[in-house]
Amino acid sequence: MADIDIDLSFSYESGEGIFSRFGLSLHKGEHLLLIASPGSGKTTFARILTGAIPKYISGDLDGHFIVDGNDVLSLDIPERLEIVGRVSQNTDEMLLFSSVEEEISFPLENLRLEEEEIQKRISYALDLFGLGRYRNVSTSELSGGEKRRLMLAILFAVNPEIYILDEAFDELSPEWRKRLADIIRNLDRTVVVLGSHMLMEYEGVFSRTLSIADGSVRPYEYRPFAFPDFHLSIGESVLEADNLLIERSHRSSDELSSFSLSIPHFELHEGECIVLLGENGSGKSSFSRVLTGLLKEMNGKISIDGKVLSAKERRSTVAYLMQNPYEELFLPTARDEAASTKASEHDIEEAFYLFGIDPDAYVQELSYGKAKMLQLAVFYLLRRRFVIFDEMDSALSSEDFASAVSAYLDNGRGLLAITHDMSVAAALPGRKLRIEGGVLHECQ
């Protein structure tokens, strides 16, 4: 008999069924990878195991989650601390305190560990994820990738029997993805990683790979996804940046260096696709914000077809699809969002079809991945000539991502795609740029 046995049936209060007899057996210390498309219930699964569902998101739950002969579902959430823990896909929703140290010591205090043990675990976990020098830093000043590593550090400091990592490789740079894969490989705890598509870093880490379809566990069939041949029809119009200098400074600590980024020359044509690579915190997002007019440059000029544009003018020409889709969606339903773009009824229907969107869905009830699809549809309808995708590939299936890229490129938009996934970078057409040592340059 397996050490861990899961069998779940669940539907949300709205009646939307998610799992019917979702069965999974695991051995202690086993490393499992679950790959499934957005909206298939990965996050719901993680939330059920820790107890967030059904206590905080109501629904009808049936079944069991047995660890060492005891049904964990009968335990109140805090009593599961040593049994199961998760890193959530949206890190902002899990942060509670102002400083890194408070954040990580809180669960350890709740375990009633001795002060010495607490300090030992904090140093160990922070060092493991390269956050040692951030101990007294404010959590609001961490970048997306750093917040992800903090959530991982908390989980490793608590060290429960079962680790659940919900898209935990998102937002991490290729180097950190490799480090995390190594850490998991050497961990003698049960680990379940949830992902929306295969990453090359996953290789050799897991004993099994499974999938979710129609509310049940299915075997995962590895079909190496071949990105289609994208047809580029480069247009006349061009977005250019010259001698650009961008600076940002951290306030709360001297230990964090402020950063500066210089871009001698950058150009993006209509219909062109450019990939942008770089470490966490190297300034990819800041560069995007400057191009789109949300952040002021220190120096340099940005022009379209030779005409220098002010920050305000750029906002309605260059679209920026931010990492967190909820930050760009404001209205009650998907239909309201689409209608706000003032596009024709025909175009809206087409976009809904293209991006697989249910027009009546409530924005705030969409899963992270589905919200990204809606974000894609909204900016598709806005018809900006130039578009920036900030890690758009991370929470989407490869198929969805590829069709989104095709949709934008076929319409002649100039696309700048930021990614941490080298296979995505290789599959996309066009030039590859990298930010390294504070300078933007062409990859060889």
């Binding site: 905080y56 942060l95 949300l294």
Partner: protein, 245 residues
């Protein structure tokens, strides 16, 4: 947005333990209401000011006190007129500009307002927010209340930056040629995002062990060297004001 006014330093007031500092601040603020002598007013106003200059420097002190100047000016403009019946000490062309009573009232209010503001600002400048919470907990502030305050301090800057993000992304969706951002949709989006985080935060608290049986809720603060002396100074200084009441 920065919710912390804390300025790093190694002055004597920084080294003062948070517990006597809290009590000292409280005593000073209470005693401020019963002062009624010229010397008392001067000490009330100057004491926090001098300590602030010594602990965080003149520039920071000016930044803090300059916020009070418009309030002081308003007070000066409005009080003497009211007290025409008092003994005139300054008159221009037969018109009484200032009376002794008027001056007395102005000075009392300025000393009180300046003194209390100064003492409170001094506390916020020399202690980190989390240390103030620890100090309050040492005085039996309930665990759940302290936890709530910690979470408030995380969410104020977070929601502040979220609003900036929302306003920015709203502006990205405007039609060409339009500027600014729509206020009502922006604040609605902010409120929705915040409310959506309520169950998430509650869940995060519990998933990290809040509410466990036998959860540790007590706090042990170490006693620094000279702790007793600090208490004595912290109590004696505000009380000494009573001598010149």
């Amino acid at each position: 947005m920065n919710v912390s006014s804390y300025i790093y330093g190694t002055s004597f007031y920084h080294k003062f333990d948070v517990r006597p500092k809290l009590i000292s601040t409280l005593l000073f603020s209470v005693i401020a209401f019963i002062m009624s002598s010229w010397t008392g007013f001067a000490l009330l106003f100057l004491m926090p000011l001098v300590i602030m200059v010594l602990s965080v420097g003149a520039k920071e002190t000016w930044r803090c006190y300059s916020r009070l100047i418009p309030i002081f000016i308003l007070l000066i403009l409005f009080i003497p007129l009211q007290k025409r019946s008092g003994l005139p000490i300054l008159s221009v062309g037969g018109f009484v500009v200032m009376t002794e009573e008027g001056l007395w009232i102005i000075m009392r209010i300025i000393a009180r307002l300046g003194g209390i503001s100064g003492a409170l600002m001094l506390l916020l400048l020399t202690e980190r927010n989390e240390d103030i919470i620890k100090g309050l907990r040492a005085f039996r502030m309930p665990y759940n209340a302290a936890l709530t305050v910690s979470i408030i301090l995380r969410f104020i800057p977070y929601l502040g930056s979220l609003f900036t993000e929302i306003r920015d992304s709203m502006s990205l969706r405007l039609e060409e040629g339009k500027h600014g951002y729509p206020i009502l949709p922006s604040i609605t989006a902010l409120a929705v995002a915040a409310i959506k985080m309520i169950p998430d935060t509650a869940s995060s608290l519990e998933e990290r062990g809040f509410g466990r049986r036998n959860q540790r809720k007590s706090i042990k603060l170490p006693y620094p060297e000279g702790y007793l002396t600090q208490w004595l100074i912290g109590v004696i200084i505000p009380f000494s004001l009573l001598l010149v009441r």
